[in-house]
Amino acid sequence: MDSSNDEALDIIITNVVATFRVRCHLNLRTIALEGNNVIYKPEVGKVLMKLRKPKITASIWSSGKIICTGATSEDDAKVGARRLSRVLQKLGFRVRFSAFKVVNVLAVCSMPFAIHLIDFTKKNRPIASYEPELHPAATYRIKHIKATIQVFSTGSITVTGPNVQNVATAVEEVYPLLFECSKPLCK
């Protein structure tokens, strides 16, 4: 198990996606013309605004719903969201920060061993799926924690889940399964 190893596995969170509302209608043209670092996409109907610190990209819709991506932690996402609403407030809109929710967390982790994907898929037949023609990784979906793990043959895995806690649990859960199908370290 993970805790019995000497080295702990480093789970690096690479992306946190959060949504929130500002509770007021936004005029995308005004934001596009007067804001800094914005890209206007009229065919879709949204404005992309990039913040430098924390480094996030936000998609802003005229209804007042905003999706904030690119943060590296849940707190960062919240800080970025608040900073974003401050920018909108300075542009003259009557914003009210509400309904902040982290929707997706993406983390990568690297196992110290390579993995034999065909064995892994055979052992976990319905839950794991591997289509080498479509994607080089095997996908393992854990239903009860709603996390998806993509396992590569080099031993790196990417985990996506609704929050950081789930991601950590998913890694704990999948580690023993991966260890069973590990290739010997000397190749």
Binding site: A114, H116, L117, I118, T121, K122, R125, P126, S129, Y130, E131, P132, E133, L134, P136, F152, S153, T154, K183, K187
Partner: protein, 318 residues
């Protein structure tokens, strides 16, 4: 006039025995008579005979059975559709003065199943292009029917679902076709077929076996015109390469293509990477990459009884 069994709306005169008006008449269809069972009186005669108009002999095996009408039904897939349709006319009499055909309105036969029948036709066309046998087509039709009735993939293009069903059927029968091969006979992109494939597996809650390099050897080698020896050698090479895990993370198709390249280069029938790439649907740089991985151990990958036209150390090194 008393014994009308139905309601008074139909006041049709019914034949009945004058002595026994309540008796139910027995029909003798051979003679065309209606006979009263009580007294034996023949009440109605010259009743229309519904027997057959031809004689059938027991020893004669007629290719068509004259007492059967219409095409063989497909009850598994259609649910027993028995309507008669008016087809487009032939000959001059079927057109009215403006050149439009009379009876232009073909009654829609079963609108709920029309999309399904269309899909079956499409499946049949696609399978015909790559010469798939009847059992795969039947399996594909069954899969499509199951998916269609479930309605969980209702928003997707029917052609995409049909192509994905064809792919799954080939897999399930043990003769997988690559996605690119299915793409070649379908108008749907590989990405969409892949997406539908995953959705169908989830909807039907089945899974398929993993593809191996050996599944494609016979097809690729025959298309390239390689002799049996080379094909067997390539199969052995690919299997050994996967067992020794020389090619981790490579698609089995690419490994198969590289194995074919190695085997053909060692034999008298040398094929270029481009030719193999064309047949297998892999880029020739991909073949080059996989070949580089298996080249160092080439000597142990060949089968022991292989006759080399070009010895192992003279194999091309890219």
């Amino acid at each position: 006039m008393a014994s009308t069994s139905r309601g008074d709306a139909l006041a049709l005169p019914r034949v009945q025995c004058p002595n026994h008006p309540d008796a139910i008449l027995v029909e003798d269809y051979r003679a065309g008579d209606m006979i009263c069972p009580e007294c034996g009186l023949v009440v109605g005669d010259r009743v229309i005979d519904v027997g057959s108009e031809w004689r059938t002999f027991s020893n004669e095996k007629a290719l068509k059975d004259p007492s059967r009408v219409g095409d063989a039904q497909n009850p598994l897939l259609n649910g027993g559709d028995l309507t008669t349709m008016i087809s487009k006319g032939t000959g001059a009499a079927s057109f009215d003065e403006f050149g439009n055909s009379k009876y232009q309105n073909r009654r829609t036969m079963s609108s709920s199943d029309r999309a399904m029948l269309n899909a079956f036709k499409e499946i049949s066309t696609m399978a015909d292009r790559i010469n798939l046998p009847r059992n795969i087509i039947d399996r594909t039709n069954n899969l499509f029917k199951q998916v269609y009735e479930q309605k969980s993939l209702k928003g997707r293009a029917n052609d995409a679902i049909a192509s994905a069903c064809l792919y799954i059927a080939c897999r399930q029968e043990g003769v997988p076709r690559t996605f690119k091969e299915i793409c070649a006979v379908s108008r749907i992109s590989k990405k969409e077929i892949g997406r539908c494939f995953k959705l169908i597996l989830k909807a039907l809650e089945t899974s398929v076996d993993l593809i191996t390099t050996g599944d494609f050897m016979s097809r690729f080698c025959s298309n390239l015109g390689l002799p049996k020896q080379v094909q067997m050698a390539a199969t052995y090479i690919a299997r050994k390469a996967v067992e020794l895990d020389l090619v981790p993370g490579r698609s089995p198709i690419s490994v198969a293509a590289a194995a074919i390249y190695m085997a053909s280069q060692a034999s008298a029938e040398k094929k270029t990477q481009k030719e193999i790439g064309d047949i297998a649907g892999v880029a020739d740089v991909t073949i080059r990459q996989s070949y580089r991985l298996i080249y160092p151990r080439a000597a142990e990958l060949f089968p022991p009884d292989f006759k080399f036209d070009t010895p192992v150390d003279k194999l091309p090194q890219l």
